[in-house]
């Protein structure tokens, strides 16, 4: 009796290591994988950068707060900080002091009413600038965190689709026909999760940290505004 058993024609010869999984995948799945790896690289780049930036900003803020509330005069503080590139709270302080210096001559003529408003506006602008710098590229983390699983899933669905087509072509439901396709397809989901999980975790952490820093800066701006306003009133 001639019974023909269809052999698994789609069984690849290269093996099932990660690299061969990638090589054997269809173009779209390869593209998805590469994209996810790039996303992961970028995410971790941003994570490292933010980690450094947030830590540095927090330290600088603490140092400046200590200096500011140490009781030395604002003039001395202004001179000691100098024109060098200052960060966060120091930058806020410097922006306000520069505006104050610039306004002094005109204030002699036109009075001090406009000075306080101007100083507050300048501090506001500087605050926005600082916050922008802190929050920049944080959106990338959020985007990767929310879309990478879907992108990986897309690769998986595509790969599974292909392997089902392979079943229909080879007319065999042998697991050996399906398994490589499924493995390569699931690899895409694994990469998606690999990129998404740290992105989501660190996005939440940085959003919280930066929010705290922003609140601190705002508080400082308000307090400094109050101090300037008091001093202006005293001059009258």
């Amino acid at each position: 009796m001639n019974v023909l058993i269809a052999q698994a024609t789609a069984v690849p010869q290269e093996g099932y290591s990660l690299f061969s999984l990638f090589i054997q995948a269809t173009f779209l799945v390869q593209f998805v994988m590469v994209g996810l790896i790039v996303a992961s690289v970028v995410c971790w780049g941003i994570i490292f950068e933010k980690m450094f930036l947030v830590t540095r900003t927090r330290r600088a803020t603490e140092r400046f707060e200590k200096l500011f509330w140490s009781g030395q005069s604002l003039e001395d503080l202004y001179l000691s900080l100098g024109p060098k590139n200052n960060q966060s709270m120091a930058a806020l302080f410097m922006a306000a002091m520069q505006e104050w210096k610039r306004s002094q001559e005109s204030a002699m003529r036109a009075g001090f009413q406009g000075v306080q408003k101007r100083i507050e506006m300048v501090m506001d602008v500087q605050l926005q600038r600082e916050m922008n710098q802190l929050e920049s590229r944080l959106l990338v983390l959020a985007t990767v965190g929310s879309t990478a699983p879907f992108i990986g899933l897309f690769g998986t669905v595509w790969g599974i689709m292909n392997s089902f087509r392979a079943i229909s072509v080879s007319k065999s439901t042998n697991l050996a026909v399906v398994a490589p396709g499924l493995a390569e397809a699931l690899f895409a989901t694994a990469l998606g999760l690999l990129a998404a999980i740290p992105a989501v975790i660190f996005y939440n952490k940085f959003a919280h940290d930066i929010g705290k820093l922003g609140a601190r800066l705002e508080n400082f701006a308000d307090e400094f505004g109050a101090i300037i306003s008091r001093q202006l009133d005293e001059r009258h």
Partner: protein, 320 residues
């Protein structure tokens, strides 16, 4: 940004390299190979034929070695298994064969109530129980002295026992055929009377009769069905015969190996049914018009070269 991106890239590259190194081609699972079982599809007919022929598996032949050195004792010793063998054989013989042809053989034994083998097997067991006593680990020399009085009594005991059993069985079952036991007794008597004639008792037991030649030359149900359909398609049942009860036309045909009808098909029954003539004519036309019946297997020609076809309008109506 640049430095952090570079760091991330380096770390990713390292992790990927490690992953490729670690996740090599996975080890194969050890799967136990199951032996494939060859399956052959057997028709019911073939199966019954095969079973029939398997009854003829050669029985283990009774010992031929009647040791020439030990003259008296071994012969007596040898009788025991032979007697048992004979009993078995006698028990086997009257068993009715499933073949209907054999059932027709005018033996009074088989048909009315087949003797059940159980009581006879009991009997065999009992005789066997009795017999092996003189045998165990008796050396020939010792046996020559010790066993001489034993064999004299043993066969007699055996006969008595058999007779008792026979009586019992007679009491239990009046329908039981006494010929069986009589034959059995005769044989035992023979064995006892002429123990030296071992050649009579040796050799394979008588084989059951069988009629099949080994190959299945009967036409199968599929082929019969094909024939029925073929003729049914050709048969133009006359209008009056469609709902006629008990109208059967029997036509005998003879065919050549190619499936063509040889000679003239004959109507072999008769009826005074009003549409019998019309029905028989249309049946004849159908048989002649449908030839050749070339799908009938040539190797089974002997089974279909001479056929009687029953035309039953009511049945045909049911089939078509």
């Amino acid at each position: 940004m640049r430095w952090s991106l570079a760091t991330s890239l380096i770390i990713h590259a390292g992790i990927l390299l490690i992953a490729v190194g670690v996740f090599q081609s996975p080890e194969e699972y050890v799967v136990e190979e199951l032996e494939s079982v060859p399956v052959d599809i057997v028709t019911l007919e073939e199966f019954s034929k095969r079973q029939e022929t398997q009854k003829d598996v050669p029985e283990p032949e009774p010992d031929k070695k009647v040791a020439p050195k030990l003259k008296v004792v071994p012969e007596i010793k040898e009788i025991a298994p032979k007697v048992a063998e004979e009993v078995k054989q006698a028990a086997r013989e009257p068993q009715p064969e499933p073949e209907p042809k054999l059932a027709k053989v005018p033996e009074p034994v088989a048909e009315p109530e087949p003797p059940k083998p159980e009581p006879l097997e009991e009997l065999i067991k009992k005789t066997e129980d009795v017999v092996p006593e003189p045998e165990p680990e008796a050396k020939p020399e010792e046996k020559a002295k010790a066993a001489v009085p034993l064999p004299r009594t043993k066969p007699k005991q055996l006969v008595r026992k058999v007779a008792e059993l026979k009586k019992k069985e007679k009491k239990k079952k009046p329908a039981f055929n006494p010929n069986d036991v009589a034959a059995l007794l005769n044989k035992i008597d023979e064995a006892r009377a002429a123990p030296s004639l071992s050649s009579d008792l040796d050799g394979a037991p008588k084989r059951g009769e069988f009629t099949s030649s080994g190959t299945d030359d009967r036409i199968s149900a599929n082929e019969l069905d094909w024939l029925r359909q073929r003729i049914g398609q050709c048969w133009n049942v006359p209008a009056g015969a469609r709902d006629a009860q008990n109208l059967i036309v029997k036509i005998r045909i003879q065919m050549d190996p190619l499936g063509n009808i040889m000679g003239q098909p004959r109507i072999i029954n008769n009826s005074n049914h009003p549409v019998f003539d019309a029905a028989s004519r249309s049946a004849l036309a159908a048989v002649v018009g449908c030839q050749p019946y070339d799908k009938l297997p040539a190797e089974k020609y002997s089974s279909w070269k001479d056929m009687i076809i029953n035309f039953d309008p009511s049945l045909m109506l049911a089939i078509n």
